[in-house]
């Protein structure tokens, strides 16, 4: 016997709807609960950093920590900026980032485009080689690279720190963008091709607009990477004026205070100052994540 189709009565429909709504509400509740607990768990250390930055060093050195400062010591932040050229360091880091982000996005997309869309001789080999560059621990290429830049008289400049961005932006960038491009249907490329577009135009006018979430993500990651990068600037920069934020933070850590007092509270303030700009950038970039991908003209 063939299966009979059961036509729902109005009552059954209503009950099903109610059940569905209830299930969804419960699901939502647990979702919120889970997210909130985890959210607090993740946010606590940052909260702690900022809270510590507003305490005195005596409060910080207590046996049981104070979750809130007795009196917020805003002066700590003033001291950070007067003891060390922190503002200058932040500016330096922003300069490096401003040079690097366009470089990564442009040359990274180009390389990813090549790997994703073109069938050129040796493609798979090159792809593996590219991935391979990620797999050789950086320590052993550091000294030869340092000597290379030294011979080119580029020590104590920002060139060693930014040139990589303009030459592909790194394996991570290319890999990620390649995956992303490969998830965009080729039909869009072909449609544009038929309309007479060159590969460059296809990339710029068809693919890149669709890649906004990926590109935004990459921009944020590049920002974060350079903002927190310690070893590169450490090795290549010698002059205090040129230091970046990560190097400056460490410098500040090892620098003794004139009064020989502990400076934990100032370090926390410096760490907060290090963190807050990235947080702002991240919050501002949120809207680019919300955009869905609209595939007009796509037939399922």
């Amino acid at each position: 016997m063939a299966t009979t189709t059961h036509i729902l009565t109005a009552e059954e429909v209503a009950r099903t709807r109610a059940a569905f709504r209830r299930r969804r509400a419960i699901g939502r509740f647990f979702g919120y609960l889970f997210l909130t607990i985890f959210g607090l768990f993740f946010a606590f250390p940052l909260y702690w950093t900022i809270s510590s930055s507003l305490q005195t060093w005596q409060e910080l050195r207590s046996f049981y920590p104070h979750l809130l400062p007795a009196v917020p010591q805003w002066n700590n932040y003033v001291q950070v900026f007067t003891y060390v050229p922190f503002a200058r360091w932040m500016l330096n880091t922003l300069i490096i980032i401003a040079i690097s982000i366009p470089g990564s996005l442009i040359t990274g997309t180009m390389a990813a485009y090549a790997f994703a869309r073109f069938n050129f001789f040796g493609k798979n080999v090159w792809f593996l080689v590219m991935l391979g560059t990620m797999m050789i621990p950086g320590w052993v290429t550091l000294i030869p690279q340092y000597i290379l830049f030294f011979k080119l008289k580029l020590i104590n400049t920002y060139v060693p720190l930014t040139i990589g961005s303009w030459l592909g932006g790194g394996a991570f960038t290319i890999f990620m963008l390649r995956q992303f491009i490969m998830s965009i249907p080729r039909e869009l490329d072909e449609a544009a091709y038929i309309d007479g577009a060159s590969p460059l135009r296809i990339l710029a006018q068809v693919l890149v607009p669709l890649m906004k979430p990926a590109l935004t993500t990459l921009a944020i990651l590049t920002f974060l990477g350079h903002w927190n990068d310690f070893f590169g600037p450490f090795i290549y920069l010698n002059k205090k004026d040129l230091f970046t934020v990560a190097v400056g933070l460490r410098f500040f850590q090892t620098m003794p205070m004139e009064s020989n007092e502990p400076k934990d509270h100032l370090l926390m303030a410096a760490a907060s100052v290090t963190t807050i700009p990235v947080l702002i950038v991240f919050i501002l970039a949120q809207r680019y994540f919300v955009q869905g991908v609209v595939m007009s003209g796509l037939k399922l």
Binding site: S52, T56, Q58, L60, R61, S62, F63, Y64, P65, V71, L142, I143, Y146, I147, F150, K151, I155, F230, F234, I235, N238, K239, K240, F243, V247, R250, F251, Q253, T254, M255, P256, M257, E258, S259, N260, E261, P262, D264
Partner: protein, 491 residues
Amino acid sequence: METRLSRRTLLKAGALLAGGVLAGCAPKVVEVTKIVEKPVEKIVEKTVVVEKEKVVKETVVQEKVVKETVVVDAAAKRAEVKGKIVWDTFRANPPWDKDRLDSFKQLYPNVEVELRMGVADQQANYAKWYAMEAAGDLGDVLQFDPSHFHFWRAADKNIIMPIDDLVAADNTDLTQWYEQFVNMSRYKGKLWGLPSWGWSGFDCLVVNEVALNEIGVKELPDPQQYAVTWDQILEWIHKSHKASGDKVERYGFNWAGGEAGFTVMCRWFGGELINPEGTKTVFQDDEKALKGLRMVYDLVVKEKLAPAPGALGQGVSNEIACAEGRLTMYHCGSLCAVNAQKAVKDNTKAKITVILFPKREDGKIPSQIRGGAWQVHKTSKYPMIAYQFIKHLTSKEGCLGFNLFGGNTALVRPDVLPLLIAQIPMYKHFLNNLANGMVIHAPANSRGREYTDAIAQNGAKLMDAIKPVPFEQGVKEMAAEIQKVLDTPPA
């Protein structure tokens, strides 16, 4: 808030006072005329002719010394010196760096000194320096510290130069520094640098006197009398340890791991960790060395009187635990005692003092002199200028400043100690140890870094209270691992 301000003001006043003291001590360096005594003639002759109990002729010709006053304008001579040196230092000491550069500029107006300051902790900086040396970019004034074991390698690899000739040419009086600290820079029969920072290292127990008062100890004797005995120390540790079940309110003791800690532990009762030549481990067969290790093992592993290691960071370091009354005493040195004192906020909970380790049967003081050194690059174009600069860094004024506002502990000059003690009374307990402490035994193959790691890691295993290993096994493994490092071909 108000208390904080006034304390800061006090400290600022103290720093200013120190500056004033410094200014008072500093010789007027701008114009110094030097008076040189130049003997012109010196005749000594005495002839006595004696003939059978009768003095016949006595001829004495007097010694004639003619003093000639030659005025040498030292300042002008110094102004003739021209050159440029680069100063690579691993740690920023801002007011002190500038102070030294400025005062050196006054002495040698035509010499340019470029400061390239280090950024991070010492180990990372050494990495950068080696890279710079490979590229040929390393500066003239360097800092490869003996206590970090980089010194011997730097000497072997021709990064730094022996300074004996420079010392002789300059007629430097090496006794202005404690001999121990100068000797740290001696190697292969030569002198390679002048002392920078230094302390008598891990030679005492930092003690919270209030905790001892609670168990009936009225007052501790003057540390420099070395009057406290090991039996008393053990008794006090046991009595002051307060625990109820799993929860510990106060630990009686904490030990010091790492290369310095273990070396001194072996030295307590007359033993050694490795032989002076740095080729063999000797502690595993030496009952005297083992006595010290076994004592700590019993306290830490068997009786669990020490807190868990690896607990660094805010709020739970030895100093703070001690200052809060949660730790009676711990193995450290002058440096730590001062830090612990600074951490005390409540005088009813803690009063920091020290107990220097009792002298051994052979009269020596269990310790390990620790220090750094300023050196000159082997291929420096201006070695004499570099040498004058490092002399300037470690002169009386330089050393004092290095301590007071350079953030270092540089107890390397006898003439600076009284001034420091006026600021930091704790240092007076260590005067004898600074002059008479025991020296470091460095691995002969210059593999000091591997040596340090081997001791730290295997030592941690030996003294692991959470997953204990039998004492004999721990000692055997540790000795074997360290010997492996000592047997490695030279770096």
